[in-house]
Symmetry: C2
Amino acid sequence: MPGKPRFTSVWAREPAPKRAREQPALSRDQIVRAALELLDAEGLEALSMRRLGARLGSGATSIYWHVANKEELLELVLDEVYAEARVPVPAEYGWRDVAAVFAYGLRGAMINHPWSVTLVGSMPSLGPNALAAADKLTKAFELAGFSGMSLDHAVSAVLAYTLGATMPEVSWMNTIGRANVDTEAWMESMRPQMQVAAADYPELLARYKSFENVDMTTSRNLCFDFGLVSMLDGLEARLRQR
Amino acid sequence: MPGKPRFTSVWAREPAPKRAREQPALSRDQIVRAALELLDAEGLEALSMRRLGARLGSGATSIYWHVANKEELLELVLDEVYAEARVPVPAEYGWRDVAAVFAYGLRGAMINHPWSVTLVGSMPSLGPNALAAADKLTKAFELAGFSGMSLDHAVSAVLAYTLGATMPEVSWMNTIGRANVDTEAWMESMRPQMQVAAADYPELLARYKSFENVDMTTSRNLCFDFGLVSMLDGLEARLRQR
DNA sequence: GATAGTACTCGGACGGTGTGCGAGAGATTT
DNA sequence: AAATCTCTCGCACACCGTCCGAGTACTATC
């Protein structure tokens, strides 16, 4: 009897049955680390169980002893990205600083691991590192005076903006090709297509043309900061009015 | 000679060579429509070229005459989601109303088509409908007094928040299972795992427990609204101070 | 009306994919 | 010594995206 569909996630299962043999030759951590390397080096679609097995010097199906699914493996790897975004301890900094450091940290981590943006769209982030980050953020906001529903909502808002702002950025970089760090070059290479695409929107095109000679990454940073500060300002207003 | 890697996207190619035969038996629109149906009915991983071909009553490979790639097909389908988010004409409403209607519209469209969240993480949104929405939003903001870089940044901020807030919501719903509209039921079914996952964060758990008896969807709506209004407030402050 | 060309359709095949299964190896426990 | 547990892995299955080339039907030209 299948019963009602249950909620499944790596985080709901025992991480490892036990420590039995001295050297299990393969371990969950090892697998996750190797997967991370492969992903960083060759991207999401280069990660197959066979390739991962080869990199680990073991059979492809051996992995399935330590991990139930490919999807579970991806959950584990995604949480590693959240680990890269450090959150300062709440008591020592103001809530705005905590939020900003976290936001920049998460953005940086996602940019460092471009494959992660595809994953955040595919699965919820319930890993220990994601939870820890959310918890610390919540504590900082609580200390600042947020309470009740507003507390959760404020945390969610910062998280949402950070994710939503970073995702298209990285998505862009992904389609351009990760090897191409030369921003000027790809800007040049895509202009003709851009004109075709935006032919119906002369204003939009004009705007993008005017950005040609500003550095792309700093421009992106400014844009991110603008939105982040706006969000924090909006939250602060809500904090003061009560 | 491969040359430098070019920027490729559906939107940069000729949409259809010409109209030659009376009834080409298959058309790009038809394909996109069928794909949409299949996606809505059975989700992203149920969409294969063979299944799509079968649904169209044609061979799987026939599709490749009208569409270069599966990925291109997905770009086309994703843009259809943006089409579902109507943006009121700028001149008749204030910028906040325009932004809010768009944000709610896009969120609704993504919730209606849960597979879309995976796609927005995988590819940039450069389709005509996405561009049209961005253009109208920009016009409304310009009318309101935003200018220069702030204009783009403000539009990006609203877009980013909307995407980032909706994505986790839908991601959640996806893993729970789309057929399960009964919010109470799945809330019940996942509580034990939730406790395991959040065992290290008693405060977090306590907070979620306190939400047990409020309706999940209205709670989500409130959360979305909170963040959106905060963002708009922040933007408005920036608008006034100059 | 014959001929050439264009616009499509489609079956077959190729090289991949995730993963269930069962046989086995080696250490530990009884 | 026997049984049990932990872990590895080759094989096989069903399915995937898509290249290729032959085949069909319609249009344009002579």
